[in-house]
Symmetry: C2
DNA sequence: CCTTGTGAAGCTGTTCACAGCC
DNA sequence: GGCTGTGAACAGCTTCACAAGG
């Protein structure tokens, strides 16, 4: 029994580090590519370069899942692929509900990248009565009031928020009330949700602002009037 | 390249830590909201809760920029906002070029969240001749061949790739050849670019896969047959 | 030989707790 | 008194380098 004192009621024991979990889908994609190319076996070198990480990191990451390689040889592509797929829950289908069928919402509904990953947008919801009942990407848009029914019927536990910032918190509350326990949030707001609900945020303008910061630094060594004052 | 004296043994020649840079836009947004609400002064507590981080982290982050607060009082909203805006290069306008005017590309062109952040999509480019010449979000779509001219004319240094995965590397090469030095990549591939080019990646399906992993764990705590082996 | 798997070292980021200043 | 700014402790992640084992 590994009962550790949790210092200050902190994190429970977590098998696989977060940083590793975030890379597993990358490895999975790389393995799928190798598999499509007919490659049966690969080294950590091969796989890591396909995934854009360094080999030591890849091996460390895989070591958290188990010993799925063969020393002196490498990894069997299909076998490793299955192990990672199982670890990240991709042996099952995940139905997600998307709230907010504006420009971004429509683009996400039509996005083809989800489908081969065991994830599909199964329902669309919008607060605008003008959009309710219309068909987008082959799905009929439901009203917010129908959210609980939609979630229950299709066994949905993941929601995507693609609404304007003002609506996002209300939508999050509605999703949580309907039983959703994971949210991917595209709205530029900090959502307040219960502890048992996971939220991941994708903030498009922040990504660009980070790039702009680095651009400014590149350009700034010659132009920037601000001085780094040294004493 | 400005080399700062390391004021203290710790964080060295690299002024502001990456993790801090990634949060500055968040603080900026929170400050703008406070400012809009007519708040003139705020504590690290106020600001950090608006930005969804803890107060110590906020103060530490701000300390990398300078001493912009007043002990015993807090921060002057407008002043701090200006300082952060300056730090992340938001006192200037950034024109970006978006390549790939499919569903996602069109959604991004129409996205309103960039505009108040000093960033705007100034040009659209697509490889499909059927799209070239059409108007999207008030902009005429240019051909790939015109990329160098477009970039040069508008002084663009940031590009967005919203093409299918297959095209992304070629587009990246073209952007780099045209003079772009920062890329925001939405295509699910690892881009190969020169060292002086910054790439940030937004991978929609990976975000969902990470959520699915955690969902599986929540559901699996009663089912999971994996045992913790003891030595 | 070969490449994996992994302790250990090193680094980055976070949190604590309190000195410093208003 | 109250809040900022920051060294120091801590936690987590990455990288190294080598033992383990085909």
């Amino acid at each position: 029994m590994t009962v550790l004192r949790t210092p200050r009621g902190g994190a429970s024991d977590r098998g696989v580090p977060d940083a590793t979990v975030a890379r597993l889908p990358l490895y999975l994609r790389a393995l799928t590519e190798l598999s499509d190319q007919g490659v049966a076996t690969c080294s950590s070198q091969d796989l890591s370069s396909a995934a854009g990480v360094n080999p030591a990191k890849l091996r460390k990451d895989l070591s958290y899942l188990g010993s799925y390689g063969t020393r002196g040889v490498g990894y069997e592509v299909e076998y490793l692929r299955y192990q990672i797929a199982r670890e990240i829950g991709q042996t099952q289908e995940w139905a997600v509900v998307l709230v907010g069928v504006g420009n971004l919402g429509q683009a996400l509904s039509n996005y083809q990248g989800f489908t081969p990953r065991g994830i599909h947008v199964a329902a669309l919801v919008d607060a605008d009565p003008a959009r309710v009942g219309t068909t987008v990407a082959g799905l009929t848009v439901s009203a917010m009031a129908d959210l609980p029914a939609v979630v229950a019927e299709r066994g949905i536990s993941i929601g995507i928020i693609a609404t304007p910032a003002e609506a996002a918190q209300d939508v999050a509350d509605a999703l949580v009330a309907a039983g959703v326990t994971s949210i991917l949030n595209f709205a530029p707001v900090v959502l307040d949700v219960p502890d048992n609900v996971d939220v991941r945020k994708v903030d498009l303008s922040i990504e660009l602002q980070i790039l702009a910061y680095h651009e400014q630094r590149k350009a700034g060594s010659s132009l920037d009037p601000v001085l780094e004052v040294q004493v």
